[in-house]
Symmetry: C2
Subunit: 311 residues, 2 copies
C-alpha cells in the first residue's frame, strides 16, 4: 500500500507518522509550500521523541519512508490511499475532491480526516464518490489508535473493507460508523457525559475537580481497557442482560432527570472555567499539555505491553 | 484512627483491606458468624494476591491489623469510624443505625457503603444523625480509589471533613456529593454515557464491539488519568471556556437528539446481549473477569508509579 497525506498541519503530520512507522511509503503534499517544508522537520522531531519513549523502534527508518511531493500529480501517482487533512470547510473540500477524483487512479481510496463534515456533503456529484469516506482520527493518531470510519450512502462496502484492513495494518483501531450522524460516535459519547457533568456542577451537586476525580480514579479506569459495554457485561453474574435487569430501572429513573437540552449558560461555563483556573493557572496550560502527552505515551506503552502479553 | 467494618460480604472484605494495608486497626463484625469466619480467610488470600502484584508491601502485617469482633459491643468499643456494609434494604439499615447510634461513642462516625439509599432515609430520627453519611466505594475499593461521600441535610461539616481526611490517609480519593441525588455522581455519569451508547446501537449507527473500541482505544484513555473537564480544558488553546465556545454549538446540536427518555427496550437489550455473547461466550465470563482484575491491577500499579514520579 502506498499512501498520500494531503494537508500537513498537525493532523496530517501525525498521519504521516502512523503510516511511515508501519513501513508504508508516504507522500506528503500541501498547497502551502512553506507548511510542507516545515512538516518534515516536525515529523522528524516527533518520531525521535516516540523512539525515546519506546513507542517507535527506528525513527530514522520511519522518516525515510516519507517523501515530499511538490505537485498534486506527483502526490497522487501510484498511491492506493489518500488521507486528506484540509481545513474544515465544505466548499474547500468540495473543490478539492472534484479535483483529485479526476486525477487519482480509479481504485485509489479518498479518505477525509474531517470531524464535522459528512462525506456526502463534498462527494455527492463525483464520478468516484463510491471510493470516498471519512477516516476521523483522534489527535494525535500515533498515540490514540481509534479511527472512526464513517461511510456516506454511496461508499462501497469494498472501499470500507480495504480502509479497515489498512488501518489494522498500521496498528490503528478502526470502527465503523454506519450512518452519517453528527459527531460520529466518539464525540456523541463525550457530549452525553459532558452534558451530565455540566448539569451536576450547575446544580451544585459536585465540584469540577471532584467530578474529574470520579472519572479518573473510578469510572474511567475500566473504560480505558474494556469500554462501557464490556464493563457492564462483566459487572453482573450473568452478563449484560442480567446487568440491565438489575440496574436498568435506576438508570431509567436517572434518565428522566437528564433530558433537558438547554444550552450551557454563560454563568455555568464561567463557573467551570473559574474552578479550572483555580486548579491550573492559565500560564500553566502549556506545561500541563506536555504532562498530558507524557502520561498518554506512558499509558499507551503500558497498554501495548499488556495487550502483547495477552495474545 | 480505629475502624469497625460491619457486614463482611465482598464490599466489607475489601474495605477491611483498604484500612488494614494503611496500618489502621480494623475490627470485623457480621451478624452471620459463618460469613465472619470465612471473611478473614478470603481477605488473607486477597492480600497475598495484592502483594504478588506489587500493590501491598507486607500482606502479613496488613492481615495482623484485622481482628474479629464477636459482638456488636466489642466491634464498636473505642472505634472512631464505622464502615457499614449491610444489605441494600432501607428497613434493615434503619433498624441497624438506630441500634449502633445508641451504642457507639458520640464522636464515632457512622458511614454507609450504600450505592442507592440516601443517608436521610435511615438516619432522620436518630439522636446522632449529624455523624452519619454515605461513603460509597467502587468495587473493589482496594483497587479503585474513588469514594463518593454523600452528605444528608443534617450531616455535620466536621464529620464530612474527618471522613475525607480518613479516606486520604488510607490512599482513597474522596469526592463530595453535596446533595442526595440518585446514583450519586459516578452512576449518573455512567448512565448518561450508557444511554447514548444504547441509543447508537439501537439506531444501527455502530456495533457494541466498535462502541467499546471507541472508548477503550480513544475516549477513555485521557479520562483514565485526567477526567472529562481537564480533558476539554487542555483541548483548546485557551482552556475550558475557549473549548466551550468552539465546540459548545456542536454538543448543543447533538444534545437535541439525545433527550428522549424511553426505557431500553427488550429488543435492544437482547441485541446488545447477543452481540456480547458473540464476542464472549457465557462460559467465558468468569475467565474474563479474572483478566479484567489483572488488567485493573496492572493499570493501578502503572498509575501509582506515574503519580509518584510526578510529585
Amino acid at each position: 500500500m502506498k499512501i498520500a497525506v494531503m494537508g500537513t498541519g498537525l493532523i496530517g503530520q501525525a498521519w504521516a507518522i502512523v503510516f511511515a512507522r508501519a513501513g508504508l511509503p508516504v507522500k506528503l503534499w500541501d498547497g502551502n509550500n512553506e507548511a510542507l517544508q516545515n512538516a518534515t522537520a516536525i515529523i522528524a522531531k516527533q518520531l525521535q521523541e516516540l523512539q525515546t519513549q519506546g513507542l517507535v523502534n527506528h525513527a530514522a527508518d520511519a522518516l525515510s519512508n516519507i517523501k515530499i511531493a511538490s505537485t498534486l500529480e506527483q502526490a497522487l501517482e501510484g498511491v492506493d490511499y489518500v488521507q486528506e487533512n484540509l481545513p474544515e470547510d465544505a466548499a474547500i473540500k468540495r473543490t478539492f475532491y472534484a479535483l483529485i477524483d479526476t486525477m487519482a487512479a480509479p481504485e485509489t481510496i479518498l479518505a477525509s480526516s474531517t470531524s464535522s463534515i459528512p462525506a456526502s456533503v463534498f462527494t455527492e456529484s463525483l464520478a468516484g464518490r463510491h471510493r470516498c469516506l471519512v477516516a476521523h482520527p483522534v489527535n494525535p493518531p500515533y498515540l490514540v489508535p481509534v479511527v472512526e470510519l464513517c461511510v456516506s450512502p454511496w461508499t462501497s462496502p469494498n472501499v470500507l473493507e480495504r480502509t479497515k484492513s489498512l488501518m489494522n495494518l498500521v496498528n490503528q483501531k478502526p470502527i465503523t460508523v454506519n450512518r452519517e450522524v453528527e459527531g460520529f460516535v466518539l464525540n456523541r459519547l463525550q457530549g452525553a457525559l459532558l452534558r451530565e457533568a455540566f448539569r451536576l456542577v450547575e446544580n451544585g451537586v459536585v465540584s469540577v475537580q471532584d467530578l474529574d476525580t470520579t472519572v479518573k480514579d473510578g469510572l474511567g479506569l475500566r473504560w480505558s481497557f474494556m469500554g462501557p459495554f464490556e464493563t457492564i457485561d462483566l459487572n453482573a453474574p450473568n452478563g449484560l442482560k442480567d446487568y440491565c435487569e438489575r440496574y436498568g430501572p435506576m438508570y431509567q429513573s436517572i434518565a428522566a432527570e437528564q433530558s433537558h437540552t438547554e444550552p450551557w449558560s454563560d454563568d455555568l461555563i464561567n463557573e467551570a472555567e473559574k474552578q479550572r483556573r483555580q486548579q491550573l493557572p492559565h500560564n500553566q496550560l502549556l506545561n500541563r499539555r506536555l504532562w498530558r502527552d507524557e502520561r498518554l505515551m506512558a499509558l499507551i506503552k503500558h497498554k501495548l505491553e499488556h495487550e502483547e502479553s495477552n495474545k
